[in-house]
Symmetry: C2
Subunit: 188 residues, 2 copies
């Protein structure tokens, strides 16, 4: 109890998701999450700043990996080609947490505070991708348009993926959505 355990973070996340689903996000305390996970509050705060951050753990890493994919894209890649590489990088992360994604998504939808937090994270991701695209030579407007197109496709693909009865991969759904956006944009 309370000592370092390799899976403490994941146990806390699972306990939080379970409690938020059962009682509601607002009604759940950090003490209850720690107790459900068989850990102490002190251990909780070693991993997460507060009960909100349990739901957003990993978003910095996701952002870094999407930015890294833009930086590593071939020199010949177009703006949306680089965005496609970033979405492929996101797909790897998403598949790793597929089992948590549905419950997490429903909890966030239930709370205005959490929806606002999610939107701030998406805006931060778009800003980071825009910086990476400018570093790849795009002008400011093109970089912003392409980066926000990236978060648009990510959002639309995520909504489909999270409840997809056919369990298609995020990578495939995002590629299809990006292709559909290209088609919409090419229609006069």
């Amino acid at each position: 109890m309370g000592r370092w355990q390799p899976d403490a973070r994941e146990r806390l996340q699972l306990a939080a998701l379970a409690l938020y689903g059962e009682r509601g996000y607002e009604e759940t305390t950090v003490a209850e999450i720690a107790e459900r996970a068989g850990l102490t509050k002190r251990t909780f705060f070693r991993y997460f700043a507060d009960k909100r951050e349990v739901l957003f753990w990993g978003s910095e890493l996701l952002e870094q990996q999407m930015v890294a994919a833009i930086e590593a894209a071939p020199a010949s890649a177009s703006a949306l080609g680089m965005i496609g590489e970033a979405l492929d990088a996101a797909a790897v992360r998403f598949e790793e947490v597929r089992e948590f994604a549905g419950p997490r998504h429903r909890i966030i939808a239930s709370s205005r505070e959490l929806r606002e937090r999610e939107l701030i994270k998406a805006a931060s991701l778009a800003a980071a991708m825009a910086r990476a695209l400018r570093a790849r030579g795009l002008d400011e407007t093109a970089a912003s348009l392409a980066a926000l197109t990236g978060t648009t496709v990510m959002h639309v693909a995520f909504e489909q993926w999270v409840d997809d009865p056919g369990r298609r991969s995020f990578e495939q759904i995002a590629r299809d959505a990006l292709a559909q956006l290209r088609e919409l944009a090419s229609t006069a």
Copy 2:
């Protein structure tokens, strides 16, 4: 003082913008805004729910007018053609409030709470446009992609317009941004 005056709302908005700029948004009270406008707190609350809403007055009307533009678009219009009509409708509203737009934009950028509120409004607008596009026959994915492309172009165009030294019209800047997005999307 306190009785109905035709320009009370605008006086309160100007007073709020001035005080938020001078002292900061957090530090300004409703009483101070009312006093600066030569009105009472009671009059303030006849127009606005709180000091935050002074900055977001008109956003429901903007949403309605953008949705109406989608509904009124010609039958032959493409998805992004309908988004272009919605952006033209937004342009009419924005030019009416051009003098407030810069100060308002800087105040919102200064506060996380206000940025979150702005993002929620943009998400609400995208959802409303997506509903209107579905009513025009688009499937759910296409409607969401096109609507979020609309808020992307609006955001990028607004950032350019609000500080444009050449004072180009929002309509022109938004049309150029939409054309640039189409070009990005057509590049393999």
